[in-house]
């Protein structure tokens, strides 16, 4: 998979922190952040996942001129698409070497990990796929390692 360049920006950190309801000034107030232990604005621990914004081919973002599977005039923009529960996120793990800061320019490289299957009462056959992403900074140093596990279910997860 191609390497993705991920510039870390203060306004993006602010918006991300808002979306998780985190009012900690270290995510939006440079003056207040300066007086903290980290000495300036840092990103919240799950921010690395916003690398999706910088992936030109990210499949969960509508793109001009391409059909989108969400609803528009009809319940799905892709006619005849079989009903599917789609993929779900099963696990996510981060290892941090240092916090991300505005001005960092990260390079993210994702490699496939293990694949395994499991039978579940609530959703039928489950197929798990692991992906490992290394985020390196402008000096080439590893700053975050992320391991995500996605699961494709045979049918929607039973809520009973």
């Amino acid at each position: 998979m191609a390497k993705i360049t991920f510039p870390v920006e203060a306004s993006h950190i602010m918006m991300f922190a808002r979306s998780i309801g985190d009012t900690n000034p270290v995510y939006h107030d440079a003056a207040a952040a300066k007086d903290t232990e980290v000495g300036g604005i840092v990103a919240p621990p799950t921010f690395a996942q916003a690398v999706a914004q910088f992936d030109p081919d990210y499949h969960l973002r509508p793109k001009p001129g391409e059909k989108w599977f969400g609803s528009a005039k009809g319940p799905s923009g892709i006619e005849g698409r079989p009903a599917s529960s789609g993929g779900l996120h099963a696990e996510q793990h981060f290892e941090y070497h240092r916090p991300l800061r505005p001005g960092d320019v990260l390079t993210a490289e994702t490699k496939p990990g293990k694949t395994w299957e499991k039978e579940s009462k609530r959703a039928g056959k489950l197929t798990f796929r692991e992906r490992i992403t290394e985020y390196r900074d402008q000096k080439g140093e590893l700053v975050v390692t992320a391991r995500g596990v996605g699961v494709t279910t045979e049918r929607p997860v039973d809520q009973g």
Partner: protein, 140 residues
């Protein structure tokens, strides 16, 4: 403020209500900030009529982000060295989530004090939605 190893013991807990009555709008906010526009999280028509779920539901990563807020409030900014979770149940609009960290171990690694935490987030019915662990640097 960072935690001190000398003031912690195994079994200590910290918990916070990290979202009350989760709104669809907050889920949309997370989609915009993270870049994950999967219609399962914002498109009620698609999610109910095509995907077969009772309503849209939160991104797992929104629940992990909410859980992370409890962790950074507890251990301090920039102190986490590891944070990992499994998403054990879906989170729905209207849910109220409480995230809890429990001290599992306090140890020394190359002169650095570390705390291992077990992490659990539950909804208003006590059903676990996130189960995981985290490690953070401590002051002596």
């Amino acid at each position: 403020m960072a935690l001190k190893a000398s003031a912690l013991k195994v079994g200590d807990t910290h918990s916070e209500c990290v979202v009350e009555n989760l709104s669809r709008t907050q889920i949309v906010q997370y989609a915009g900030a993270s870049g994950d526009y999967n219609p399962l999280h914002s498109d009620e028509v698609y999610t109910t009529q095509v995907a077969g779920y009772p309503s849209v539901f939160a991104h797992g990563m929104l629940t992990m982000g909410l859980t992370g807020k409890m962790l950074t409030n507890y251990v301090g900014d920039g102190r986490l060295t590891k944070f990992g979770v499994r998403f054990t149940n879906q989170v729905w609009p209207g849910d109220t989530l409480t995230a809890k960290a429990t001290v599992a171990d306090i140890r020394d690694e190359g002169g650095q004090k570390l705390v291992d935490l077990t992490v659990s987030t539950v909804n208003q019915d006590g059903k676990e939605v996130v189960s995981g662990s985290a490690t953070a640097r401590l002051d002596p």
